[in-house]
């Protein structure tokens, strides 16, 4: 079963995953870019409903460090099911019913994960929104809401009939190449900013 969902905080994401798992599923894999969660239905071989917990790494790790990270959690009863050594959310799942139910045992470490997440989101929001703003400011002729202004060809909108449609068709891929990254950057930037505000970015 695949599900798409976007979250603003680690807590709400974790709760959502665990609610679905309680219904007889196990989180199998996560695509962090598409926000796509793959769940497997529990079979007779699975003897328990696992908990999945989220850790957040704001810095990249060397291959050896990441190996040690995974090994340490594995020793402690958690399997890393998704996550990257270059940072981001790490999805850890209980290996057995007797594993701890939580990966954090004090308020301090819970707060510091939230702080890392907020700070990381804020850095990305700043990058994406600055990029969009500088691009918009330097070119000055893109109005996001006015599709006609996306086309730079002089005289395009004065053309008639068949020529007009051919020209538009010809230009559209170029326009998309120019505008689509900008729109994606804008959306991702705003999303990251909301995450930063939600989690505190200091």
């Amino acid at each position: 079963m695949k599900k798409f969902r976007v979250f603003l905080s680690l807590d709400s994401e974790e709760n959502w995953i665990n609610t679905i798992q309680e219904g007889g599923y196990r989180l199998d894999w996560v695509n962090p870019y598409l926000h796509c969660y793959t769940f497997q239905e529990l079979t007779a071989d699975d003897q328990f409903n696992p908990y999945t917990r989220l850790d957040f790494r704001d810095k990249g790790m060397s291959r050896r460090d990441y190996q040690a990270y995974r090994q340490f959690f594995s020793d402690s009863g958690w399997r890393l099911i998704a996550g990257s050594r270059h940072g981001g959310i790490q999805y850890l799942q209980q290996k057995t019913a007797t594993s701890d139910r939580d990966i954090f045992s004090d308020e301090q470490s819970k707060a510091s994960v939230k702080r890392r997440f907020g700070r990381f989101s804020f850095a990305y929001a700043t990058f994406f929104l600055t990029y969009v703003f500088v691009y918009w400011w330097l070119t000055g002729n893109i109005n996001f809401l006015d599709i006609k202004s996306w086309y730079l060809t002089p005289g395009l909108w004065q053309m008639q009939g068949e020529w007009f449609w051919k020209a538009v068709l010809f230009e559209t891929p170029f326009v998309l190449m120019r505008v689509a990254p900008l729109c994606i950057f804008l959306i991702v930037g705003i999303y990251d900013l909301c995450r930063a505000i939600q989690n505190g970015y200091r």
Partner: protein, 103 residues
């Protein structure tokens, strides 16, 4: 008298420093703490990982070479030992003070 700005330590930090007076890898330290505290202190994995990261940054513990390629082994440093000594003295003083009050 001014106090070292790192004191008082959290209970978790104190136990980790005590456990790492011998070289141990992360999970072995969790088990050692559980044993030392007679099962009352169970440090969860994520908390332990963050605490080790933090203690490495403070240079209170350091990584030591080991034959195990997959696990990192840590040991307390001189700085760590002096912090442990200071904190133990602080706790001892508190205990003595409480004794004077009949506790």
């Amino acid at each position: 008298m001014t106090r070292n700005k790192n004191l008082p330590l959290t209970e978790t930090t104190y136990y980790i420093l005590l456990a790492l007076t011998q070289p141990l890898h992360g999970y072995a330290a969790i088990q050692e703490i559980e044993r030392l505290s007679q099962g009352t202190v169970k440090v969860a994995a994520g908390t332990m990982y963050g605490a080790i990261e933090n203690l490495l940054k403070l240079k209170w513990i350091k990584e030591v070479p080991s034959s195990d390629k997959r696990r990192r082994v840590y040991h307390i440093t001189e700085t760590g030992q002096s912090i442990l000594r200071l904190e133990t003295q602080r706790l001892r003083d508190l205990g003595k003070l409480a004794e004077q009050f009949g506790y």
